[in-house]
Amino acid sequence: MIGIQMYTLRDFMNSKENLRNTLRKVSEIGYRSVQISIPGFMNASELKNELDNYSLKADSVFAPLESIHDNLDNLLQNAKVLDTDTIRTDGIPERLTGSEEGFRIYAERLQNAGKLLSKYGLRFMYHNHALEYSNFENGTGMDILLKETDPQYVMFQPDVHHIAAAGLEVSHALYDFAGRCEYIHMQGYAIIAGEDVDKAVPRRTVPVGTGNLNWSGIVKTALDIGVKLFVVEQDNCIGNPFDEVALSYRNLNKLLEGKE
């Protein structure tokens, strides 16, 4: 199954009317699942109505880690309204990424939040970038997050572009998430011409199926480890974002054809 993280289209969602138009276009492309944050100008049930109008379903509710304990009732309510059992959260704060200790502290917070949510039948999911792969004496920050949280409480939503940007081979590294990863973020990684670069890397996010990632290997491993929802998220688009997410949708369909 294919979804889209609506952050990709963030510049086209700043009013009710724009949001509606954007949801309509996303639905017309063929998407049925969206990863969306409840906008300031709507409540959860209004958003649910809009999603229903365009045959779209939210795959999760967003909550900053710090807010989960104090806003639990609200979160439970929103998950119920949007008809999802998955809570996704934000990244580790910059100040905790410099040491193994920092990652341990964050792992404990993730574990506590996941445990709390599990009491209410909710699943908790962390979305990682490249920064979790910082290297320490005994491994990476990601090793700590994986090892020091319980698979039954903390799920992961890895991002294939950012794993590659961290220097790992994605089709290989995804096995670290086996059994605790049902959603995955999909965006390509390309090198763009026009810059004088011997040393820096002119890295760009591009549509799924384009660029230099090992797509067939990635999809194979993702299915092996139990990924059920491939979520298109493209941090930045160079062309028309709707064209780019349409291309990602078509290419992902081709990549998944006959394999799911």
Partner: protein
């Protein structure tokens, strides 16, 4: 014959005078390196440098000549190669002006081919060392594909670099196979991540000694073996801390991985 070499560019800050140059060669030899990739400094003639290398039992694995200057310097290159006891000529990158278009890559491939043919006639082997920018996409073809496919495999060889293959978004254990039969030396250094600064999507990567970062060394060495790599050339573009400690770590870790 050791399969490990050092690109002396790594130690460039310690080679600025004849005395420093010699001291550095001594340290490099003490670590255990037997082969070096080195450019002749302005303060030595080729035979003087050869003599110093001999003094420390170091063997040059190639001579250097910038692309564009090869055709007019064949005799000199033959002579230099003879003095250093090598048959390999390595060159620099595609000029900046040719990097931004498909046509530029076609033109450069043609030039490489001419240079490679001329060197081949002189009994020399030509190698091109690439970075990440050659993995730029022009529609469905990349710069590197043009360079590979529009040059004679008998006359133009490549020196892949596992760091740059990674930062281009490819998986080196897969993409190295593009160079099957076209490469006998390979540059090795690790790709690591340090503490994040700024936006969460930033990738704070750095060059690290072999075996201390995020690269998939098992897969890389297996692929290198399969495509015919005969020598692993340590090149660390930038080093935090003591450069001699860094190249010692790389040397030791390569040995631990079974490269002798």
């Amino acid at each position: 014959m050791s399969k490990i070499a050092l690109q002396m560019y790594t130690c460039r800050e310690h080679m600025k005078t004849a005395a420093d140059f010699e001291e550095t060669l001594k340290k490099v030899a003490e670590i255990g390196y037997e082969y070096v990739q080195i450019s002749r400094p302005a303060f030595f003639e080729m035979d003087e440098m050869a003599k110093l290398l001999g003094k420390y039992d170091l063997q040059a694995d190639s001579v250097f000549c910038p692309t564009g200057k090869i055709l007019n310097n064949i005799e000199q290159l033959e002579k230099d190669a003879d003095i250093l006891g090598t048959d390999v000529v390595r060159t620099d990158s595609i000029p900046v002006a040719l990097r931004t278009s498909r046509e530029g890559y076609h033109e450069f491939a043609h030039r490489m081919d001419q240079e490679g043919q001329a060197l081949k006639k002189a009994g020399l082997r030509y190698i091109y060392h690439f970075h990440a920018f050659e993995f730029v996409s022009f529609g469905n073809i990349r710069g590197i594909d043009i360079l590979l496919h529009e040059t004679d495999p008998e006359a133009v060889m490549f020196q892949p670099d596992v760091f740059w293959l990674t930062s281009a978004g490819t998986e080196p254990s897969v993409s190295l196979r593009m160079f099957k039969g076209r490469a006998f030396y390979m540059h090795v250094k690790d790709y690591a991540i340090r503490q994040l600064e700024g936006a969460i999507e930033n990738v704070p990567f750095y060059f690290a000694p072999v075996g201390t970062g995020n690269l998939n060394w098992n897969g890389i060495l297996q692929a290198a073996n399969e495509i015919g790599i005969q020598r692993f050339v340590v090149e660390q573009d930038q080093v935090d801390g003591d450069v001699f400690e860094a190249i010692r770590t790389s040397y030791k870790n390569l040995q631990k991985m079974g490269i002798r």
